[in-house]
Assembly symmetry: C2
Homo-oligomer: 247 residues x 2
């Protein structure tokens, strides 16, 4: 049904060259005129090739100097290791379990919002009841790579006032929750992929055509209470998610 | 940096209406002229709204009849439950653990290819060594929702000739592998999201701007051999991935 536009064939060619090491990190990718000559395509088609390669995170543009194979490292999130109690219970940050580069946390914001349905149901409150959120952005160098927002009930927030602090202390929020009778013993992460919302494009500074992964994590206690919902929006060109489990 | 195009605000509006139930499954979405009047935007902008909503899987077009909120059900893959030995070891299909609708398997193809680096390394062969693949497509109604390709060494394929059959029998390939000394006891799934390749667009009949999730699973034995790599490409508007794990 859907016929692929010719620019896609060229994108596939260049991707293959990158994957097989013919083009290495930092190498210059053929320019618009070079692509035009090599593949006998119009300028607009060659421009779409560059845009698509950027959207896949394979290349970056340097102003006035052309397009280069990206040297930025992928961040691999390895679960359940990163969320093991032995980690945050010992005062370590969850993010430290991920592969380098380690993002910085910026723009911590806290406040209350009326719960929409997707949060009211897991948190066990009515739609429209106030809940507490804590949002932050993760940045590598100058690049925003993730938006994360935690949601808890006002009751949990009252027991764990650190949720409203910029720094939640050693081991972070889960360590504080464990100290006050809200220890998460089980997690469920739901992963979706989609094109970004307008505000996500702006905040993550995503090039056109870059998808995001939306990870919605529920933190659950041994008595089966969901004590936190954390929604993470990650730049899909930056993150890979590993999940280890037994048969 | 990146400014959102005005069509994105309209997309966000309509998505919210769908999420909050103002627009329900099967309801008609405002037409191009209606969007033009309501938001005072050009026809091309209104067309981009419909295209973006289709790409997110929120709406479907009915020829000559307009655009409607989708009624298609999301498929939730719940791990590790779906890959538990108790499931395939008892002769049940992995796919039966996912939420409805249950896809049909079509176009089973088997053959040999020289191993590229990403398969040679986990399978423990040299780049260029022949390995055996088994690819298939998953279809719901008339819609292709997933491409899956398993890769094994020629040694494993010799022990498990069912890999080359259209039907691998009760419990599928993992059950057969377990019977011949290649039982997977541990899995690692790596999840990425990206825009689709040209051939994926064609095979999955993806509308423009629809991302895919790429899931690469390694099946590992108790003596730490990777006995299979399975790469799944799923339509991101159809699948959600759940991962359950302990702290």
């Amino acid at each position: 049904m859907t016929d692929a536009h010719p620019y896609r064939r060229i994108v596939d060619d260049i991707r293959r060259a990158i994957e097989e090491g013919e083009l290495r990190p930092g190498d210059r990718v053929p320019s618009i005129p070079e692509l035009g000559r090599t593949y006998n395509v119009a300028k607009t088609t060659a421009e779409r090739v560059h845009a698509a390669l950027r959207a896949e995170g394979l290349v970056v543009s340097r102003k006035g100097a052309g397009v280069y194979v990206r040297t930025f490292q992928t961040i691999v999130r390895s679960s359940p290791n990163r969320l093991a109690r032995s980690r945050w219970g010992a005062g370590n940050a969850i993010q430290d379990a991920d592969t380098a580069p380690r993002p910085r946390t910026v723009d911590v914001q806290v406040g209350e919002i009326p719960a929409p349905r997707w949060l009211a149901e897991p948190l066990g409150v009515e739609v429209g009841d106030l809940i507490v959120y804590r949002s932050r952005r993760f940045v590598v160098d100058d690049r925003s790579v993730q938006l994360a927002t935690s949601y808890v009930t006002v009751e949990v927030a009252a027991d764990v006032p650190e949720i409203k602090h910029t720094d939640t202390g050693p081991g972070g929020m889960y360590a504080r929750m464990a100290e006050r009778g809200h220890e998460p013993t089980h997690f469920v992460e739901r992963v979706r992929s989609r094109m970004p919302l307008a505000e996500e494009i702006a905040t993550l500074e995503l090039p056109p055509g870059t998808p995001v992964m939306e990870i919605t994590r529920r933190a659950i206690t041994s008595d089966d209470r969901c004590v936190e919902v954390n929604r993470m929006i990650v730049d899909a060109t930056v993150y890979e998610l590993d999940y280890h489990f037994n048969a």
